[in-house]
Structures are given as C-alpha cells and as structure tokens.
C-alpha cells in the first residue's frame, strides 16, 4: 500500500490524510455525543474557523519562506480595536473602505516586521517576538483604558458574520466563513500556480539556489510579511464583526494557535513545503477537536488542551515518519528504474 501511495504527490497525500483524519474524528465523536452531527456543529465550527483560517493562512505565507510571525495575535487585536474605533467615530463609512482600512492597517505592521527581517536581516523569531510585545503595548497606549463595545458598532457590521449566504440542507454557509474560505482558496491557487508566488517555496526550500535563480530574496520575504499583515488585518476585521466587544487583550495567544494549525496542516516549520489549504484543514481539525472535547461527557472539559497537545505531537510525528518512509520508497523505485534502464 505504501508503494501505491508513493505515486501520489506528497502535498496531495497530506491533504487526503488530513481529510481522512477529519472524517474519522467526526465519526468518532458522532458515536460518543448524542445529536452531534447536525447543522449547529457546522455553524459553530465554521464561525470560529473563519477567523483562524485567515490567521493560519497569514502564518503559512511567512513560514513558507523559512520565517515565523509571532506578532499576528497583536496585529489582529490592534486592527480589531483600530477598525472598531474608526467605525465608531465615522458610522457612515462605506463597508468596503472599512475592510480596506483594516487590511492596510495590518499590512503596515507586516511591513515593519518585513523591513527588519528582510532588509536588516534580523531573525524573524527575534523580530516578531519583540513586535508582539511592542504592538500590544502600542495598543494599550492607543486604547487608553477604553474598550470597544458592540453598541458602538453599526448594525451591518455585527450582523455580517452570521448572515447566511446560502444553505445546503441543515448547513448554513455564513458570510464570514464563505469569505474566509474564498480567500484561502485564492491564496492556495496563487501559491500553486502563479510564478510570483512560487518564489516563496523557492526561497523556503533552498535560499542559495533561489538566489542563483535570480530571485530577489529580500523583496520576496518583505512581500510575504506584508501579505501576512494584510491577512491578519482582515482577520482583525472579522474578529471585530464577530465579537463586537474588543479589549486590549483581543487576539492574545493567536500566534501559537496559528502556528499549530499550520503545522498540523502539514506546513513544514523549516519552510519550503506545505499548502494554505492544508493549514485551513489544520485549523478546522484543531477547532473541531477543541469544540467536541468540551461536549464529550466521558472526559471533563479540562482535558481539552492536554488532548490537543498530544494530538498535535502525534500528528506531526506520524507525518514525519510516514513521509520519511515514502521518500525512501520513492528513492528505491527510482533506483530500480535506473537499474532496469541500464540493462
């Protein structure tokens, strides 16, 4: 069976494996929790995944280039707060302008990270560790002890995430989820097929070779950070729309969650491989397990994080072991073919 599987592209294989795990998890919980498989589960997961999918996508763009962005949580929080204050003071602002503002706002933070990482060549983990603290403290300063409440926001904004765009039986496809999935798919196809976006993979898998191929590394890494910032900004907009009440701790801890989603989704932490679609499924899987464990009567809800940590570890370890074997089988096959050709 391993030999048959080794014919598939590893990326496709990973996504198939993730989908299989996702199905197994759903089947397992549906035998454990009564009335589990229904539209409400889908709605619940899809509303919270809408935000995390965007952040995981942002994180993936950066990880692909052998970097990491630990400041996404602070960027999401700050953008949510800033967007909220803007619409509170200018309630008649056009919705699209507001979205554009949030993305531009996030992109500025991304540009700041990108400048220091790409052009000053400071390791991303140091830069974004520092800007995580820095952006958060700027937010505290900006907020000045106040918070955004949903009563300050216009009706269209707070009702946007829950507006059903279309329904398939029990499944409601709400606006926020649909928007997030569409964006993830656009980024996914861009990364797979556009020459410009393939540069991210080139840099991540072999920086020296990318350099020799004439790819401008600095500019590409910079652009990856800016795009990640813009996506985090959009996630901030979604966060504001979903929760309405924003304090200075908004988005705290999202940085590690997004890395976890990306890694579970098969994105290599050392760059160069992985897909945005995988990261989306990773985000769904993490969220599904979190939500389901709370409802599982057999274990107390306090087990949630312990189980989650174990699952992430198992997933990544299995992935590494299986992938290594597949590579070995492929190499053996290749060798056989050459032997035959030699005869």
């Amino acid at each position: 069976m391993m030999r048959a599987l080794s014919n598939l592209n590893p990326q496709t294989l990973r996504i198939l494996a993730l989908l299989l795990v996702l199905t197994l998890v759903i089947l397992f919980f549906s035998t454990q929790i009564s009335n589990y498989l229904n539209g409400r589960l889908f709605n619940r997961i899809s509303s919270s995944v809408a935000i995390m999918a965007l952040i995981a996508t942002a994180q993936t763009l950066v990880i692909l280039t052998r970097n990491i962005d630990l400041s996404v949580g602070s960027v999401v929080g700050f953008t949510a707060f800033a967007t909220g204050s803007l619409i509170a003071s200018l309630p008649d602002l056009h919705p699209l302008l507001l979205v554009a503002f949030s993305m531009a706002f996030g992109a500025c933070f991304g540009a700041f990270n990108g400048l220091i990482v790409a052009y000053a060549r400071v390791p991303a983990i140091i830069v974004t560790l520092a800007t995580m603290a820095l952006f958060r403290s700027l937010l505290v300063e900006f907020a000045d002890g106040k918070s955004i409440t949903s009563s300050q926001l216009p009706q269209w904004l707070t009702s946007f995430p829950n507006t059903p765009l279309f329904e398939l039986g029990q499944f409601q496809f709400r606006a926020a989820f649909v928007v997030a999935v569409v964006i993830v798919l656009i980024v996914h196809f861009a990364l797979q097929h556009l020459r410009v976006a393939r540069k991210l993979y080139a840099i991540g898998s072999n920086p020296e070779a990318a350099d020799m191929a004439g790819i401008n590394q600095k500019a590409t890494v910079f652009v990856a950070f800016v795009c990640a910032g813009a996506l985090a900004g959009l996630a901030g907009f979604m966060f504001l729309a979903r929760f309405g009440n924003i304090t200075v701790v908004a988005g705290l801890g999202f940085e590690l969650k997004s890395v976890a989603a990306a890694v579970v989704g098969g994105v290599n932490i050392f760059g160069g491989s992985g897909t945005v679609f995988g990261a989306l499924i990773g985000a769904v899987l993490v969220d599904l397990i979190e939500t389901s464990l709370v409802r599982w009567p057999l274990v107390s809800e306090f087990w949630r994080e312990a189980v989650l940590g174990t699952l992430i570890l198992t997933a990544v370890a299995l992935d590494a072991v299986v992938m290594r074997r597949l590579v070995a089988i492929r190499a053996a096959k290749h060798h056989e073919k050459r032997e035959e050709a030699a005869k």
Binding site: L129, A130, T131, V259, W303, L313
Partner: protein, 331 residues
C-alpha cells in the same frame, strides 16, 4: 598590538557584547538611582529579583538550549504543571517533601518527552515544544480544574516569602548557586564545550564522536527539571496555585536569553551575557514601575530593546569596518 594603552584596551572590552551590556546596565542603574529615591534600598533590590525570580532561573537553563541551536517553548507550561501538581498532591494529603520530589521528577519526565520527539523522531524543537506547551498546560488544568489550591504548610510559604539568610530569600540564593553551577558546566567543562560545538554544527559534532542525541536529551531534561523547580518556587512565593500559573512566561524568558547575546542559530553566547541581560531587564522594569509606567508599556520597551540588541551591533560593525578599510587605504 601588545603596546595598547589601557584606554584602547578598555574600549576594545566595551566593544564586546558583554561590555556593552555592562555599560547599559550601569546607565540604567544610575538613571534609576537618580530618578527614584526608593530604588537603592535593600528592600527594593531584593523585591526586584523576587518578582521575576522564577523566570530568571529558567533563563539560565534556556541559555544552554538556545546555544545548542534548539528552543524550548514549553517551560512556562512546565512551571504551571509543576505548581499545579504540587497543589494537587498536597491536597491529596501526600507528604510535602515527597511531593516536591515527585514534582521535580515530573519536570525531568516532561523534558524527556520533549527530548524523545526531538532526538528520536527528529522533529524540530519549535514544533515539539509548541505542542507540549499546549499539552503540559492542559495537564495543569486537568489537575486543579478551575479551583485554586492554597493553605500550603507554613514552612513552604515561608521559604518563598521570607528571608532565609538575613533578608535574602531562598529563591535568590538558589538562583546564584544555580548560576555558579551552570557557569562551570557551560564555560569550564567538556560538556559545555560540546553544547557549543553541537550548536555550531551538529553534523561536525557527530563526526567528532559526540553523541548529539544524548546531549540534547540531557539538556531538555535539565530544562524540564529547572522549570519544575521554578514552578515550585512560584507556588511558595505566591502561596497559591491556579491553572494559569506562569502563562506566557516562555516569551519573557527567551527574550532575556536573546538580549544576553545568545545567537538564535546556536553556537554562541555566554551565561554571563544572560545574567547581564537579566539584570538589565529587571532593573529597567523596576525603574519603570517606580515611575508608574504600566506593565504593558514595560514589555514594549523590552521588545524595542530586543530588536535593537540585534540591530545595533550590526550597524556598529559596518561603520567600524568602513573606517578600518579607509585607514588602510590611506596608509
């Protein structure tokens, strides 16, 4: 080069990273002394250490890990797990001394779990310890759920809160003893040399006959043990534990180590550098607190310091190189 004036010697000394840190530290202490009259009191000096004693103890172990070109994100969660395990076992009526032993063992086992996945399965430490960051925290929450455990024995609380030798508390003495032990281990022993060699180039180290897997395993077990010890100190100092003990401490700890000049790519940095960075962070935070600057702003300032600590030497070096080449061309 032998007939250098004392002044030139001094300036070359300052140009090393540690020299720069000493200057920065002196400047901060001076500013604090001038700006706040309460700063230079014994009470405040001890308080300054006590408030972050758990973080700075773990920073010492983290120095080894990062020099070894790895990272341990799970330390904060391990501190939380240790504190909660202590609370849980204490409530279950187990003898406190035995409990302390069990908790330290939990630290070693937790570190071994990290080490197993990193060395035997070959996963990146960033991913493994991210997962155990979530997992260990989860176990801590399983143990105490949403309760708080308190009413520890008086001697335990006293150990954390009162002076052991005069006004100096146990934790501070433990910190300096641990510093000396680890200093000898890292800077003066074969084991420490191996830590540097593996951090510089793991393959070369392996070819040189070093069992790199075993070495990394020992370091992660040490990191777990030290984190568990720090978690116990936290329980003793605060006198109560909850599921969110030491939440997010890992980032502060890593910041201190990196600020101390330890390269994130491994292979360079010293324990003295870490100690100086610890003193800088503590004095800076304390000084700002005395001037009524809030915690979030303090963290932001530390963040700026972290970036500039990597940026500044580079700018400086470029300028110096430029000047030297010009001088050569002139002569």
């Amino acid at each position: 080069m032998s007939d250098r004036s004392p002044l030139a010697l001094l300036s070359s000394r300052i140009q090393t990273w540690e020299g720069f840190l000493v200057c920065a530290l002196l400047f901060i202490v001076l500013m604090n002394t001038v700006l706040s009259p309460q700063f230079m009191t014994l009470g405040n000096q001890i308080n300054l250490f006590q408030l972050s004693i758990e973080k700075i103890i773990v920073a010492l172990a983290m120095t080894f890990i990062i020099i070894n070109a790895e990272i341990d994100l799970s330390v904060g969660s391990m501190m939380g797990l240790a504190a909660c395990a202590f609370g849980y076992l204490f409530q279950a009526g187990i003898d406190p001394v035995l409990t302390i032993g069990i908790v330290l063992l939990i630290g070693v086992v937790g570190g071994a779990v990290n080490g197993f996945f990193i060395t035997k399965i070959g996963l990146p430490s960033l991913v493994v310890t991210l997962a155990t960051l979530i997992g260990f925290r989860g176990l801590a929450r399983v143990l105490v759920e949403d309760r708080g455990v308190t009413d520890f024995p008086d001697w335990f609380d006293a150990l954390g809160q009162q002076g052991l030798i005069g006004p100096i508390p146990f934790a501070l003495i433990a910190f300096f003893i641990l510093f000396l032990v680890l200093y000898v281990l890292l800077q003066r022993s074969g084991f420490g040399r191996q830590t540097y060699i593996i951090g510089t180039n793991r393959e070369v180290a392996a070819f040189a006959g070093i069992d790199t897997g075993r070495h990394k395993m020992i370091l992660f077990m040490m990191s777990g043990l030290v984190s568990a010890f720090a978690g116990l100190l936290y329980a003793a100092r605060v006198g109560a534990v909850r599921g969110d003990v030491a939440l997010g401490f890992e980032l502060d700890i890593i910041t201190m180590v990196l600020l101390g000049g330890v390269s994130i790519f491994g292979g360079s940095g010293t324990l003295v550098g870490t100690l100086l960075a610890i003193l800088i962070v503590l004095n800076l935070r304390n000084g700002m607190a005395l001037l009524n600057i809030t915690g979030h702003i303090q963290t932001g300032v530390i963040g700026i310091l972290l970036i500039s600590s990597v940026l500044l030497p580079r700018v400086n070096l470029a300028a110096l190189l430029g000047r030297e080449t010009k001088g050569e061309a002139g002569s």
